[in-house]
Subunit: 206 residues, 2 copies
């Protein structure tokens, strides 16, 4: 992990800023302000200025931020000014949707290969991919020096897959299986579980 002490909560907001800026860029906008960004994101302008000031001086009071420049800088900070290859493990409905997903374009990611241990899925086509046998997962990751993986297998297999990924040298895992997984220090995990998000909201419903 980086040794500078920028809190993770700040890091967690940078991708949101980047996404909003890229949306503005698609709208052919050239300049924005912390006020406008804040309104789009539901974050205060002061918070945005404070977050960005951790990384340098990206705009001038009164003139706002140049969108292209701020995108370039945030992409560098988040290290998505390069394209990261990703392996997907699990070729079920979620693995399918992820492999076909167009939203990784221009965000710094590319699904490189999809694996499954079910022989009825191995060899089938998903978009431009041909599903590979999970028995080749570790060697594929090692040979291609891949650092990021997505787990889209049933909860009961998620830890076992995570162990293989870690053994192969994966450093960042996006886990779609609805279960917590344990990984060594230096490996990062993020979770996508729609029920968790929904339950956060039902608490507040009348």
């Amino acid at each position: 992990m980086k040794s500078n002490a920028i809190p993770d909560i700040i890091i967690s907001r940078l991708p949101l800023y980047l996404r909003s800026l890229q949306r503005m860029q698609e709208e052919n906008r050239k300049v924005t302000s912390s006020q406008e960004l804040g309104e789009r994101l539901g974050i205060s302008a002061a918070q945005i200025r404070k977050d960005l000031s951790q990384f340098g001086e990206f705009g001038k009071q009164g003139t706002g931020y140049k969108i292209d420049y701020l995108i370039e800088q945030l992409s560098k900070i988040l290290q998505v000014d390069q394209e990261w290859d990703i392996v997907v493990v699990g070729a079920g409905d979620i693995g399918n949707a992820v492999a076909r997903y167009r939203g990784f374009r221009n965000r710094g990611f590319k699904v490189k290969m999809i694996f499954d241990n079910d022989q009825s899925r191995v060899g089938t086509e998903i978009d431009a991919y041909i599903v590979k046998d999970s028995k080749n997962l570790i060697s594929y990751i090692v040979d291609n020096n891949i650092k990021i993986a997505m787990i889209a297998v049933p909860a009961s297999h998620a830890q076992e897959v995570a162990n293989q990924l870690v053994e192969a040298g994966i450093k960042a895992i996006l886990n779609y299986a609805p279960i917590n997984i344990t990984v060594p220090d230096g490996v990062f995990v993020q979770y996508i579980d729609p029920s968790i998000h929904l339950q956060r909201m039902t608490y507040y419903l009348d």
Copy 2:
């Protein structure tokens, strides 16, 4: 929104506790401790005890928590001791995966219907669903008194769909479109965007 002042950060952890407890229940476990929960979740035992103490006395020092009872109580608190119907808007890859997803079972949710405005999708079958025309979205939500929706349409249409959902009385939206949406006070939004999660991790990679 509820008027009691329990911080949202605490609420956000309750679904994680509930999920871990349900996993233990599936393993036929009867009792757990804040230590064990903490190890599974990467959260300190003290934090878990403090969070739970906001809602009552669920366990005794030394004897731990009864899993069935704590599940029942957390389910009540999060209001998932009932089953919430959900409408899905967008029958593309993500809408498909969500409609077929088995992970909502026992978590308090049921996909009730899926909508699309693409006439080539309307009438097609997804699992047990027949895709309905989005022109009937508002009346369907009103007639069935549905409070929760998922947006799985392209980013360019997400705000328009959100406006329709709000008009129809939806109070909680899970947005899979990679864009921020604006909703009135009293409507809750959560986001699922895998690129955002990935970018949170690439910052830390060597």
